[in-house]
């Protein structure tokens, strides 16, 4: 039976992991390759690297560390952040990334999803959606959560799926960074409307939160950052907990 996936997420700027890193026994706590390898060996099912480098010029270094990550870890990894062209996607895939995640550029130009899926296959096109509650709906935000758009998140996810997205990486901006748990209502709404896998993101603070996202939220995978970075829980501990609760995980 297909296992639920546990996916640590690393934010990278200028080639260095920047958020929430507190590993004690690493030679270089900011190196995406070393951290990626650490999670790989601990039993992560996939990794997501979000490049939050501010300038286009500096973003060119991404290919370097993506190539080094691909040399080092033998599980799938996704690279996201600032990707806006077929050429950029091609370069990342050729460097060894298994998937790319598109966000703002796909909202600006939805046809990019269709073109990318046609060129590289839906399986490597993840659409990241930053959703924030607004009245009785969720609005899509772009630019790393800075810009509100007019788009309804549920409608956008349906459109992205129809255009050829392979997976949805769904972040609740209301919950992101709060560690009070994922937005289960949002997850369930999306699960009811999509036929492609949904990765839950935003709000994880404990293994119980991951369980709720997978069970009540019907997510296929859970993304988490701080609960792993600060070594409050190891990936093995989280998987053991989920397994005891009856969730199928790879151990």
């Amino acid at each position: 039976m297909l296992a639920k996936r546990i996916i640590p997420c690393l934010d990278v700027a200028d080639g260095r992991v920047v958020k929430g890193v507190n590993f004690v026994d690493l030679k270089d706590a900011g190196d995406p390759v070393e951290l990626g390898e650490r999670y790989y060996l601990e039993g992560a099912d996939e990794l997501v690297f979000l490049d939050i480098t501010a300038t286009v010029e500096k973003r060119k270094t991404v290919i370097d560390w993506v190539r080094r990550v691909a040399d080092t870890i033998f599980i799938p990894f996704t690279v996201g952040g600032g990707i806006s062209s077929l050429e950029a996607i091609s370069n990342l895939l050729r460097a060894g990334a298994d998937k790319v995640s598109l966000n703002s550029a796909a909202v600006r130009n939805p046809q990019l999803i269709r073109e990318a899926a046609a060129a590289f296959g839906s399986q490597c096109i993840v659409i990241a959606v930053d959703a924030k509650r607004s009245g009785n709906q969720w609005k899509v935000f772009t630019g790393g959560g800075r810009f509100e758009t007019e788009r309804d998140a549920l409608e956008w996810i349906e459109e992205a799926e129809n255009l050829g997205a392979g997976e949805i990486l769904l972040t609740s901006m209301d919950r992101d960074g709060t560690q009070v748990g994922y937005d289960l209502v949002l997850l369930k709404e999306v699960a009811d409307r999509t036929r492609i896998p949904v990765i839950a993101s935003g709000g994880a603070g404990s293994p119980e939160h991951l369980l709720s996202a997978l069970r009540e939220g019907e997510a296929d995978a859970v993304l988490a950052a701080s609960i792993f970075h600060y070594e409050r829980y190891s990936i093995a501990e989280v998987k053991e907990f989920l397994s005891k609760e009856g969730v199928v995980v790879r151990q």
């Binding site: 039976m1 297909l2 040399d71 799938p76 050729r94 296959g121 036929r195 492609i196």
Partner: protein, 202 residues
């Protein structure tokens, strides 16, 4: 020398990364003359069956692959291409194995299957002189990484491993020197590397 067939398939680089990690002697090539003289051949593949078959045909690789007598490993789409046909754009494939590749039923389950799933190894595979060297002793509970929308049905004579996703299908097949794995050993962590290592030394 292992030749990884280069026909612009998506996961070429990561198959290479895994072989590099295993210190295997390998090269990428799309040249029929080079593939024909290889000691072993790996056919990777991500993407559509139609595009892959068109590339293989354009590069003059179809007959060369059909005629190989050396250990051969098809990965993911590389397994599917071994069969006669694929429902994906109704594509004629290499026809080394009988049968038709089908699409997962999106009424039953999410398509594509993305993630880690298990393989039930059949004794035909464990006892097979070629496949047995690769798969025997791999723990039953091991998980492998899958990404695919199409599958080989389980009721064909070449099946040596099955996986359940909505229904049971063939996740590993063998016929003579041709071995096919639907999952990605190069993306399946340490157990995947072990399978590749066994192919390298077989």
């Amino acid at each position: 020398m292992i030749v990884v067939v280069d026909y612009r398939a998506g996961n070429l680089y990561n198959v290479g990364n895994a072989l590099k990690h295993l210190k295997a002697d390998f090269s990428f090539s799309g040249d029929p003359g080079v593939v024909a003289k290889a000691d072993k051949v790996i056919l990777p593949g991500v993407g559509s069956a139609r595009a892959a078959m068109t590339s293989l045909a354009t590069q003059g690789l179809c007959d060369v692959i059909r005629g190989l007598k050396v250990p051969f490993l098809g990965i993911c789409l590389g397994l599917q291409l071994l069969f006669e046909r694929s429902e994906e754009d109704d594509t004629e494939c290499l026809g080394i194995l009988p049968g038709t590749i089908r699409r997962f039923d999106s009424e039953l389950t999410k398509v594509p299957q993305i993630g880690w799933n298990q393989v039930a190894w059949r004794k035909e595979g464990l006892l097979d002189p070629f496949a047995g060297q690769i798969v025997s002793g791999i723990p039953e509970a091991s998980y492998f990484y899958f990404v695919h929308s199409y599958y080989a049905p389980s009721n064909n004579g070449s099946t040596i491993g099955t996986t359940v996703y909505g229904e049971e299908y063939s996740s590993a097949v063998v016929s003579g020197n041709f071995l096919g794995l639907q999952f990605h050993p190069e993306r399946s962590g340490e157990v995947g590397l072990e399978l590749l290592r066994r192919f390298v030394v077989c």
